[in-house]
Symmetry: C2
Subunit: 94 residues, 2 copies
């Protein structure tokens, strides 16, 4: 969907410029979460996903396919769902 809407414009910005916008949106998401407004958080989540999808389009990688290849319904480390890894969970998503 994001490719159809934005690809032409995004591709002219390039990956690093798009990545910078993605980082800006993550900061806006942090602010939205701190306000506890579900509507604001929902909007910022959508924006972060939109910029991530735009970035994937620019580098020519299917975002959903990339996620499915890596996670495929289980934790890639312990191959369980729910994840059963022992230790620091932060190490798991990769």
């Amino acid at each position: 969907m994001m490719r159809r809407i934005y690809y032409e414009r995004d591709s002219s910005r390039g990956p690093q410029g798009t990545l910078n916008r993605l980082l800006d949106e993550v900061e806006e998401l942090r602010e939205a979460i701190s306000t506890d407004s579900d509507e604001a958080v929902s909007e910022e989540l959508a924006d972060v996903l939109a910029w991530l999808a735009s970035l994937a389009n620019i580098v020519g990688i299917d975002l959903e396919g990339a996620a499915t290849r890596k996670y495929d319904n289980v934790c890639p480390r312990c191959t369980s769902s729910p994840c059963k890894c022992i230790g620091i969970h932060d190490a798991m998503h990769g």
Copy 2:
């Protein structure tokens, strides 16, 4: 999918801690893009999406639903697809 795999562990980290991991992953994505390795970029795109999905799960918002509500197959600003907004495209994703 990410909710099923990781919700229990993610929810114990809280939104801000998960947001910090999301930012770490975006930086890893930046490094992957700079290496021009499609496999590395694909893995990091998957990780960023995984952490974004985890964050959405923690705050109780459906990520795909949030994106669909905001974008709904058109640019929310000009309501066109492809986007026809005039001026700086960076202002458009919101």
